[in-house]
């Protein structure tokens, strides 16, 4: 029996009972389209987070303080809480580590910030001018923190667009206006460009002030929250990471890397962590949708079993005119696979449309990849074979004499 004949026989059998075939296909459509839509949400989120992390800057390495461990205690508090990094460490990195483009130390504190008639709670970031290069920040109006501000301990502030909206209202030019951070008055000298809307960390809700001002007037010590380092070329990132580790271990008089009081992370490390989280999310979403696919598969099996019973005489006849068991099995298997593939193709299209609608109405970013389409296609074929196998085998094993007599 030729392949084309097999397809034609299967097609005419399926179209013989259009309502039943249609309902069975519908089960597969629901399953496949929800799998496709769910994977698109997972992958869209992954892509967005990736873009966000890459948007922080390029060839970036960050140094964070280690765990804080109390004297005589084994209890660790959260990462980055220790006070181990200083401006001198940042200077040493700048001077001694090769292939570095810029070093930007920062301190990060959360404060209540007020203006006349409005207030907000936001992150105040003490920075140096190189921060704008390393973290890829551009000023929309006004100017950024300069080295003169740093030397003079100027009480000036550059606002993120969200903070500007919160304090002064949307699209207001706040240059020259006063804000109070921890009861100390600062003059607004600029507003940064937006870095991107939603997400779990809003990078636009920030206030930038000179690092020296922050340390002197607000915090009162010399420690840093982060040292940001931009490497010249991506291929140097790994070796620079090693240089910095060695340098800081030496500076902090630590012999064993395991007990280091700081972390050196590259952008790709952060990316890896984020990717593993979003991959888990994708798998979880797909698994939930996969359950409906299994239900669809059971529908296929149910229909095929009914069909085999209904067409017992036909099977008997086909055997009488010379069809081999294998040919009978193949015919019913082809019918099952054809049903699931039709369902699969429609499901892929609907899932794709569905993901577009999800993006349009909820703003969740989605992405249909070739991978998810091929996966959906493969899974629907596999379901056809998996759930069609038993009914096909049953059809093939019928005794032709009894099948011909079947009423």
């Amino acid at each position: 029996m030729k392949f084309l004949d097999l397809l034609q026989e299967a097609y005419s059998a399926i179209s013989m009972n259009k309502v039943r075939s249609g309902l069975t296909i519908l089960g597969i459509i629901v399953g496949i389209s929800s799998v496709v839509a769910m994977i698109s949400i997972g992958q869209g989120t992954q892509r967005e987070i990736q873009a966000r992390i890459e948007g922080i800057g390029s060839n970036l390495i960050v140094v964070l303080p280690g765990f804080q461990i109390g004297p005589g205690s084994q209890v660790r508090s959260s990462r980055g809480s220790a006070q181990t990094l200083t401006l001198k460490d940042a200077d040493a990195i700048q001077k001694q580590v090769p292939y570095i483009k810029a070093v930007a130390p920062e301190v990060l504190v959360r404060y209540q910030v007020t203006t006349k008639g409005a207030n907000t709670n936001t992150l105040v970031v003490g920075i140096t001018p190189s921060y704008s290069v390393v973290r890829n920040i551009k000023v929309e109006i006004g100017s950024f923190i300069s080295s003169r501000h740093l030397r003079n301990l100027s009480k000036v502030a550059v606002l993120g667009p969200t903070t500007r909206d919160d304090l002064f209202g949307e699209n207001v030019n706040p240059i020259g206006r006063k804000i109070r951070i921890n009861k100390i008055s600062f003059t607004v000298i600029g507003v940064t460009q937006p870095k991107g809307g939603t997400g779990f960390i809003n990078q636009d809700d920030r206030i930038f002030i000179p690092l020296t001002t922050a340390q002197h007037f607000l915090i009162g010590d010399d420690y840093l929250t982060t040292i940001n380092i931009q490497v010249q070329e991506p291929e140097y990132v790994a070796s620079v990471q090693q240089y910095i580790t060695d340098l800081l271990l030496a500076r902090h008089n630590i012999l064993d890397f395991q007990t280091a009081d700081f972390f050196v992370m590259s952008q790709s490390d952060i990316l890896k962590t984020a990717t593993s989280i979003t991959s888990t999310l994708t798998v979880f979403l797909a698994a939930v949708a996969g359950i409906s696919l299994i239900v669809g598969g059971i529908g296929i099996m149910n229909m095929m079993l009914t069909t085999v019973t209904e067409r017992t005489r036909e099977i008997g006849l086909r055997k009488a005119i010379g069809a081999k068991n294998r040919e009978i099995a193949l015919q019913f298997l082809t019918e099952a696979v054809m049903l699931t593939l039709i369902g699969g193709i429609i499901g892929i299209v609907l899932g794709w449309l569905g993901s577009l609608l999800i993006t349009k109405f909820t703003g969740i970013s989605t992405k249909i990849s070739m991978f998810s389409v091929l996966l959906a296609f493969g899974v629907s074929a596999a379901i056809g074979i998996g759930f069609g196998y038993y009914p096909a085998k049953r059809a093939a094993s019928l005794n032709p004499i009894e099948a011909l007599r079947y009423e």
Binding site: L4, L317, K319, I321, K324, I401
Partner: protein, 242 residues
């Protein structure tokens, strides 16, 4: 062409053994039109199943075209059925809601006949079976009983088998259409020298054959090769034998 040597068929149902065929020997030559006649339960259906390679004998040997087919596997039997045997059933067994032509072309699909040849061969078989050409594209369920049986005969003919087996082919038809179907068998037998084995329980039907094998309780009780063959009418007899 057909040789059965001491064929027995025993069915086992738990501990109960039923002997459906008891030591049957029979030979049928090419071009014969044989009626196997007997009451229900006589074993004539079992005999037909063995002749049609749907079943194998428990004991004895069956030679079809000098080939021993009594101990073949189910796939090998399927090949024999495909190439050498055409079946006509009492209840026609046409594919429902399928055109006449597609029904007749069905055996050609399994025989691997090229697509271009199939329709031509199906048309020829349908003309030989005596179906009007206007019906060729009708759906099988739009036909009358007589027409359906003609389609079934065409389907049995289309592979050019050496043996046509008809199991109570007139059982679901009225007398008038029965006669026309039997006439068709006679034509095929006389004009195309087809070997036909017809299974029936009615002597009246059996008399259209040129040899009657009478079977009771699994044994042949009579094998009459010289009886007066019945024809629909004498003018037809002349037109057939000419």
């Amino acid at each position: 062409m057909i040789q059965l040597q001491n064929v027995s068929k025993i069915y086992k149902n738990g501990t109960v053994e039923t002997k459906a065929l008891n030591n049957i020997s029979l030979s049928i030559k090419e071009g014969e039109f044989v009626a196997i006649m007997g009451p229900s339960g006589s074993g004539k259906s079992t005999l037909m199943h063995i002749l049609g390679c749907l079943d194998t004998p428990t004991e004895g040997k069956y030679f079809l075209d000098n080939q021993d087919v009594s101990r073949l596997s189910s796939d090998e039997l399927a090949d024999i059925r495909k190439n050498k045997i055409g079946f006509v059933f009492q209840s026609f067994n046409l594919l429902p809601r399928t055109t006449v032509l597609r029904n007749v072309m069905l055996p050609l699909i399994y025989a691997g006949v090229p697509r271009e040849e199939r329709e031509e061969r199906a048309r020829r078989a349908l003309i030989d079976a005596g179906l009007e050409e206007s019906c060729f594209n009708h759906l099988s369920n739009q036909l009358s009983g007589g027409q359906m049986q003609r389609v079934a005969i065409a389907r049995a003919l289309v592979n050019n088998p050496s043996l046509i087996l008809a199991d109570e082919p007139t059982g679901n038809l009225d007398t008038k259409t029965s006669e026309r179907v039997l006439e068709t068998f006679q034509k095929l037998n006389i004009k195309q020298r087809k070997t036909i084995v017809l299974v029936t329980h009615e002597r009246y039907i059996a008399e259209y054959a040129n040899r009657i094998v009478h079977i009771i309780d699994g044994s042949i009780v009579e094998d009459n090769q010289n009886h007066q063959q019945r024809f629909i009418n004498n003018s037809q007899k002349e037109s057939l034998t000419l």
